[in-house]
């Protein structure tokens, strides 16, 4: 059995195709969204989902959230550095310059954390459907790079799932919106999730979903709304009491929780109360933090966040050489699109009411399940395909050239799968190996792009310069993952090998991690 999984920054869900209909699978309490949170209590099993979320206010040092913001990144990434301070739990530097999370005396790689989330979802699906789940289609933000996609796939393996395909969240949402409806239109997917924002423009027809372009802001999400609200309320509290809560991780987390709840309430009502009881103690007496927040105040606090999302829309439209008026349908995805200000801003930007016929919380999982079913369908030459995705590469792939410059090999926006061959000749007499540094990003300068790894082709015959040629094939598959094949063209002796670049975990480590998770 195969399922579709929306592995979100804050919440995740799982869906499957049952009797030809895509259904989101609920747990025993009937919940379909599960917090992407993992807790390591001092004794007993590792907790995930709602149970782990409850630990967040009790034991923030050993409760891990928003791991997706770290997955597939390097420790020296400035965004990762920023998180060292933002997280209450300890983020350390791992052996391959990748961040690891320190729980008591053990280090966990980020894919291991995500694997616990995936394992939790797998269990929910297995319990509900009564069958084993071995395979999944997992979604990622459209602008995830090669390393982040590869790390997500490894997380699947550690969880005991074969990730048959990684698809982009907005593309999945488009499938959920347009599948089987015989549409023929240009669709914008406005995806405002807990941790990331992206917008994707697609051409949707009955059977083909073609991505025209995609743009995103990796550091803009619903969490920022909570943060803005918490900062605002905290400042008023501080003025009154001179108590600083930011240094107390437990209390600050409780305030963030209350802010999230307040934000949700403000989507329904014009005014809500934000209350954190017994937040501090003065002279033996407990102090409560309580504030009334109106929607107007909240809108004022978050207007700049909404504006940032429109700047991303500008980029996407410019890239596609389209204007807002060319878009036929606007589909809202992600929990943050419940915020009335966000809806209004989108309506103004596209000059039309956004569509509300897909559930922003579950559309991505549903789309993944639909695609999973397509992939697992019996291959028949005369059968019409259910729905095909034609997606694109989110960031250009290039190689480091002389002088610190990057030479593009495959441009962003190119439809996948795609391949590109480069021939490298030796530049020195007697050269025995060729090294090629592969990077991803749009900058001309190598240091501004994301390093994916170094390809070393060794064992070259000693010869005079330029005599030996190495052919390197850069191939990006439908999951957006880069595969390299190097071939020594020397005197008919050709040997091809697949090279994996961004593996922060070795095969043995992946197997160990999987075994250790299964024992618990």
């Amino acid at each position: 059995m195969i399922v579709g999984i929306d592995l979100g920054t804050s919440y995740s869900s799982v869906a499957a195709l049952i009797n030809g209909r895509a259904v989101v699978i609920a747990d025993e309490q009937g919940r379909t969204s599960h917090p992407s949170i993992i807790a390591f209590p001092p004794e007993g099993a590792v907790l995930a989902g709602h149970a782990a979320r409850a630990r967040l206010v009790v034991d923030p040092l050993h409760t891990i959230y928003s791991a997706k913001r770290l997955i597939g990144r390097r420790s020296d990434d400035p965004d990762v550095r920023a998180f060292h301070f933002a997280y209450p739990f300890r983020v350390a530097e791992g052996p391959n310059k990748n961040p690891v999370i320190e729980i008591r005396d053990r280090h966990y790689a980020i894919p291991e954390i995500s694997a616990y989330v995936l394992r939790h979802l797998k269990k929910i699906a297995e319990r509900a459907l009564g069958v084993d789940i071995e395979r999944a289609v997992v979604t990622v933000p459209a602008n995830f790079n090669d390393a982040q996609r590869e790390a997500t796939r490894i997380a699947g393996r550690i969880a005991g799932l074969e990730v048959v395909r990684i698809i982009n969240e907005p593309t999945a949402a488009a499938l959920a919106y347009g599948y089987g409806r015989g549409l023929h239109r240009k669709v914008a997917i406005y995806d405002f999730g807990g941790g990331t924002f992206d917008v994707t423009l697609l051409e949707v027809t009955d059977r083909v979903f073609r991505v025209i372009t995609t743009a995103g802001d990796m550091m803009l999400g619903g969490d920022d709304f909570d943060q803005a609200l918490a900062d605002h309320v905290h400042e008023a509290f501080w003025r009154k009491t001179k108590i600083e809560l930011r240094h107390d991780m437990v209390e600050w987390q409780r305030l963030l929780f209350a802010s999230e709840a307040c934000k949700r309430e403000l989507s329904q009502k014009r005014e809500a109360e934000l209350r954190v009881p017994r937040v501090a103690h003065i002279g033996g007496g407990a102090v409560d933090l309580a504030a009334r927040v109106t929607r107007d105040i909240f809108n004022g606090l978050t207007i700049e966040l909404a504006r940032r999302s429109l700047a991303v829309c500008d980029r996407a439209l410019a890239d596609a050489r389209l204007s807002a008026g060319d878009i036929d349908d606007v589909v809202l995805v992600g929990g943050s699109t419940h915020v009335p200000l966000v809806r209004a801003v989108v309506e103004q930007y596209f000059r039309q009411k956004p569509r509300t016929d897909v559930d922003p919380e579950t559309a991505v999982a549903v789309g993944a399940a639909i695609h999973a079913a397509t992939l697992m369908g019996a291959p028949l030459p005369d059968q019409q395909a259910a729905a095909l995705l034609l997606d694109v590469l989110p960031h250009s792939i290039g190689i480091a050239a002389a002088g610190g410059f990057t030479e593009r090999v495959i441009d962003r926006g190119t439809a996948v799968p795609v391949e590109q061959t480069r021939v490298f000749a030796t530049g020195r007499d007697g050269q025995e190996e060729v090294r090629i540094v592969v990077v991803q990003g749009e900058s001309r300068y190598t240091r501004e792009n994301t390093p994916l790894g170094e390809l070393v082709v060794g064992g070259i015959r000693r010869a005079s310069r330029g005599e030996v040629e190495i052919e390197v094939c850069f191939e990006v598959d439908q999951s957006g993952i880069l595969n390299l094949t190097a071939r020594d063209r020397d005197s008919g002796r050709t040997h091809a090998k697949k090279i994996k670049l961004s593996g922060e975990l070795t095969e043995a480590q992946i197997r160990d991690a999987q075994r250790s998770q299964e024992q618990h």
Partner: protein
Amino acid sequence: MPARVLIVDPDNARRGLCMVTIPSDRFAMIFADDVPQAMSVVQRGGADLALVAGTGTCRALRDVGATLPILVMDARFVDENLGKAEVERGRANGFLAVPFDRDTFETKAASALHSPAPAAPPARRTRSQPAVAVTAPAPERDPWSEFRERVSQMHRQLDRMDYYQVLGVEPAAGAGQIKNAYYARAMEMHPDRFLNLSDERLRTQIYEVFKRISESFKVLGDAALRVEYDQGLRVDRPRYLRYVRTERKRQGPKDPTAIATTADGRKYVGLALLAERQGNWSAAQMHYSLAVQAEPQNKALKAKLQEIRAKTGKK
């Protein structure tokens, strides 16, 4: 009867803020991007009050003869004195600091609205939607053997086919035809449809062929690239069959900064080499020592620094 507020502001974020803040049961909102759009509403008497972003726009409205009450809005008007001054300058009736709340808006609007003359509510603008129609053409129905034969034939000839042949269109085909052909090919040969195929050889062939199909569309689907590609075909067809052709690149010690391994290290080595070429030994020494600081483990750099030190010592 709701008062009609004309919001003159091209900024979609502020427009959204207005939508969610101004109570829609008491105010009907009309949006305009600029002065001409706003004036066409004002001239047919379609607004009771204008809410305008920026003093400049407000003045411009007054200059072309708008007499309705105007509130001017700006984020800087949290400074009330500035707000009052700008009201004067723009000949407005009041100011609003953005972001504002409902009560503030209502108070300011009430004082600005001199004569709440009852009028017909504005006509709702509806957006025309293109008709839902046209499904992509259905692919031909072939049994397995025929399909297998076609795939392997295409695979064999892949390196002799130009992009038009790959997509199966005439070189004179229009943009629409090219896209349709691409979609038809995708429906027939997209590798996602054959993930479970047990015949691995056929699966690989399908994958290889499809990669070329999307490459073809990438070039032919882009007007500028297509022109370039067509030129290449005319000049030397076998050579320019593929737009992105294999390129030769020399690999070797061409980058003298490569003795450093970090970006910072390379930068300083580059500067040091430049200084060396200019004969400025002390600058070279400084840059090398900075490079060594960036990469304290790098032996080659240390050796280089020693070398330079020896040179400066001699001079």
